[in-house]
């Protein structure tokens, strides 16, 4: 086998933990329930999402521009690849533990880059499968696809993540080459926030300004190309759409060719740039960043001060979390995206904000429902926050330190939950602010939404931590793995869905039909969520000592 293919093979085995899975499930036949649960989660979660996209695809396929059923999912896949690909690439290129082994080997830089790029690309196919394929099938219900059309669809699917990841790859290696070691972590976080915020702002303002000025008649009579309109944010999505929709024609062939050439050029450019700057950025990052402050008795008087074990554990959680940019972005990305997703459409639509606010104020139970909806969003953000559900996993190979300390496991749990709780608060405040600005409900409703939302987010986080203690992912080799490739991070969302649905039933089926007042309803939901959180916390604290003792025995 050639060195490059050997490198790709080992990289795949390492990145996806294939060898670990083979030993665990096939050779040792341990934890065989895990693949079944994972499959169930994928089918249940992904299936629900996919069926929604299938229906969307069917709906759009019956509209004035049927190919929109393709453009929308294609664009979604590519935007996700841009946003999440950035973190995946930074993590695998610069924070992966196998780099110390790979760099001294007699392989070219672009071989290492290519092998790692393939890993990230393969990861992007999972969301692409859920987003693109159902829409394609929905589209197919109303539009015939020839054999060439299907062939184009397969090729397009394979090429979907290539251009966005290549662009992000160029951005990543250039950024890392330019940053010096001392400020690297902080700059990665700032660059990430600016990038995500910028993408969101550009997309919404551009599309809002276009759509708002186009008469509906022109859209219906096909005088306006909706594909171009939607896809202009990222032109490869237009080529991909036309390649499938117009397969068999010159237009279809030309667009497929554009896509293939653009993908090749993008990937080639990434390889060329990477070959020049990757090692420079890598080596620069490995240089010892020594401030060289002399520790004297005088310095220790200020810095060596006793604190309680609980406070020490809590401080440790924050220090370790904040100093790994990948974890900060994965933990708080939703904090940036979701409020922007709420705010930008409202702000760029001009006169809609007062109308929306008036609608809420005058609707029956409008303010109550707006507060509950805001609380639901805050609770959902809390469940998307991976601070608790990956807390033990993120300790990785350092877990021996926590397990050898003379502190009760309940202290460890308390510190981790306190850390996650503050994280939830950080995520909750922007949402509450958007609610206050857009709807102007009054302070009491904003506070109610904030408090209710935080309590709502408690149960998913507590049970997420319980699950992470039960089966932590400790074998990760790059920090992205510990949070993104960790199924424990998915569980809080499922729990939030369940507890949210319970609250929905309580409000809409019991309290409101019974004619209860607004504040009785809010109090009722709060009580329910407090009970769920209290029960979850009791279970978790009781289970903690046993789970900590068993951790490395698996």
């Amino acid at each position: 086998m050639s060195p490059f293919f050997s490198l790709v093979r080992v990289s795949l085995l390492n990145y996806f933990g294939l060898q670990v899975m083979k030993v665990r499930y096939i050779k040792e036949k341990k934890r065989l329930w895990e693949p079944a649960v994972i499959l169930f989660a994928i089918i249940a979660g992904g299936g629900t999402f996919a069926s929604g996209l299938y229906l969307l695809g069917r709906t759009l396929a019956q509209g004035p521009a049927p190919a929109m059923a393709l453009t929308l999912p294609i664009l979604m896949v590519q935007i996700l690849a841009i946003v999440f690909g950035f973190f995946a690439l930074i993590s695998i290129f610069y924070f992966s533990t196998d780099l110390d082994l790979l760099v001294p080997l007699p392989v070219k830089e672009y071989h290492i880059l290519a092998a790692k790029f393939i890993n990230v690309t393969l990861t992007e196919y999972a969301p692409a499968l859920i987003l693109f394929v159902p829409s394609l099938i929905g589209y197919r219900q109303f539009v015939d696809l020839s054999v060439l059309g299907w062939a184009s669809a397969v090729l397009v699917f394979l090429l979907l993540p290539v251009i966005p990841l290549s662009i992000m790859g160029i951005f990543t290696v250039t950024l890392m080459r330019g940053l010096n070691r001392r400020h690297r972590d902080v700059m990665i976080v700032i660059a990430s926030l600016l990038m995500v915020g910028g993408i969101m702002y550009f997309q919404y303002t551009m599309q809002a300004s276009l759509v708002g000025e186009i008469p509906m008649e022109d859209i219906i009579n096909n005088r306006i190309d909706l594909i171009w309109l939607l896809g202009s944010f990222f032109p490869p999505s237009i080529w991909a759409t036309r390649a499938i929709a117009d397969a068999g024609s010159l237009t279809g062939f030309a667009n497929l060719l554009y896509l293939i050439i653009a993908s090749a050029v993008a990937f080639g450019s990434f390889m060329a740039v990477g070959q020049r700057v990757f090692y420079g950025g890598l080596v620069g990052g490995a240089e010892r960043d020594r401030k060289g402050q002399m520790i004297t008795a005088h310095v220790l008087e200020k810095k060596a001060v006793q604190r309680s074990p609980l406070r020490a554990l809590y401080t440790r959680e924050w220090n370790l979390f904040l100093r790994v940019p990948i974890w900060v972005m994965n933990g708080f990305l939703a904090v940036v995206i979701i409020p922007l997703m709420l705010f930008f459409p409202a702000s760029t639509a001009g006169r809609s904000i007062p109308e929306l606010a008036a609608m809420v104020h005058f609707a029956n139970n409008g303010l109550l429902l707006s507060a509950l909806a805001t609380a639901a969003i805050i609770g959902l953000l809390g469940s998307l926050n991976t601070l608790a559900s990956t807390s033990v996993s993120r300790e990785g190979r350092h877990l021996w330190i926590s397990r050898s300390l003379p502190v009760p496991a309940t202290y460890q749990v308390t510190a981790k939950l306190a850390h996650a709780g503050i994280g939830a608060l950080v995520a909750a405040v922007p949402v509450a602010m958007v609610y206050a600005i857009v709807i102007t409900p009054g302070t009491e409703y904003v506070l109610a939404a904030l408090i209710l939302g935080l309590v709502f987010s408690a149960t998913p986080q507590i049970l997420g931590l319980l699950f992470d203690m039960w089966r932590p992912l400790l074998t990760w080799t790059n920090p992205q793995h510990a949070v993104k490739n960790n199924l424990n991070a998915v569980l809080p969302m499922i729990i939030a869905g369940a507890t949210g649905f319970t609250s929905y039933l309580l409000v809409l089926r019991v309290l409101l039909p019974a004619g209860m007042g607004e504040w009785v309803v809010i109090l009722g939901v709060l009580t329910l969520q407090l009970i769920l959180a209290a029960v979850s916390l009791t279970i978790t604290l009781r289970a903690a000592p046993g789970l900590y003792n068993q951790m490395e025995d698996k």
């Binding site: 040792e28 220790l300 810095k303 604190r307 020490a312 068993q550």
Partner: protein, 241 residues
């Protein structure tokens, strides 16, 4: 100080027996060397003592307290340095030392004295304010030992402490172990460097395939082996039987 009674530990549902019916006693105030070939069960034994692994059978007590039933109390009296100290790369050396001192409830005055003394001994004053990720292997070893000693544990457990250390640092480690013992404490360490064990240890134990095959001071070991003088030759003879 440390009593290991009939302890066994296996992996892969009993297929691999790492430790098999181990019986061992370490007396207070002594330096005990734990020797054995690779894969003989040294690290497994040490991990069971410090609570990172649970034995399948038998008991381990430290100062009369069971490591499973009184885990927190036992951990309070132990200082542990693993064979490859994986410390928090994203904490500074000083943050790590303070963290350990906090969880062991070492007061401010005591910790400052101990930390400063050890930093001076190991010449880490210039480096300890930096992130541990920037430390060399030897520096991490020294930091780990400093952290293990900050609360002056009754039992210091070291797993292959000399690996990767330069001669001066190795010498410092040996001095520290001696000092620790002279204060009435106990040191239990595993090593492959037999001449260090021979010169430093009051008693040694030799483990092979999970069994303790010899134990005692040099004079006692020489009685068990035929016509041998050095610990190395005793070790080779006993482990090749």
């Amino acid at each position: 100080m440390l009593t290991i009674q009939n302890v066994s530990k296996s992996y892969q549902k009993g297929k691999v027996k790492a430790v098999d019916g181990l019986n061992l006693e370490v007396l207070p105030g002594e330096i005990f060397g734990f020797l054995g070939p690779n894969g003989s069960g040294k690290t497994t034994t040490i991990k069971m003592i410090v609570g990172l692994l649970r034995q399948d059978q038998g008991s381990i007590t430290v100062q009369g307290r069971d490591t499973l039933k009184d885990a927190l109390s036992v951990k309070q009296s132990i200082g542990y340095v693993p064979d490859n100290p994986d410390l928090y790369d994203k904490l500074t050396g000083l943050e790590y030392l303070n963290f350990i001192a906090d969880v062991y409830r070492v007061d401010s005055v005591t910790r400052r004295l101990r930390i400063l003394r050890m930093l001076e001994m190991f010449e880490l004053q210039n480096a300890v304010g930096d992130l541990i990720g920037s430390f060399s292997h030897g520096m991490k070893q020294k930091l780990a030992l400093t952290a293990a000693l900050v609360h002056d544990p009754s039992l210091l457990i070291l797993d292959e402490p000399m690996v990767g250390l330069d001669p001066r640092s190795a010498h410092l480690f040996k001095e520290l172990m001696n000092e620790h013992c002279k204060r009435g404490n106990t040191v239990f360490f595993s090593t492959h460097i037999l001449d260090v064990a021979e010169r430093l240890c009051h008693r040694v134990g030799i483990i092979k395939e999970g069994h303790l095959i010899a134990s005692g001071n040099m004079a006692e070991l020489r009685k068990d082996a035929a016509e041998t003088r050095t610990l190395e030759s005793i070790f080779l003879e006993l482990t090749e039987k």
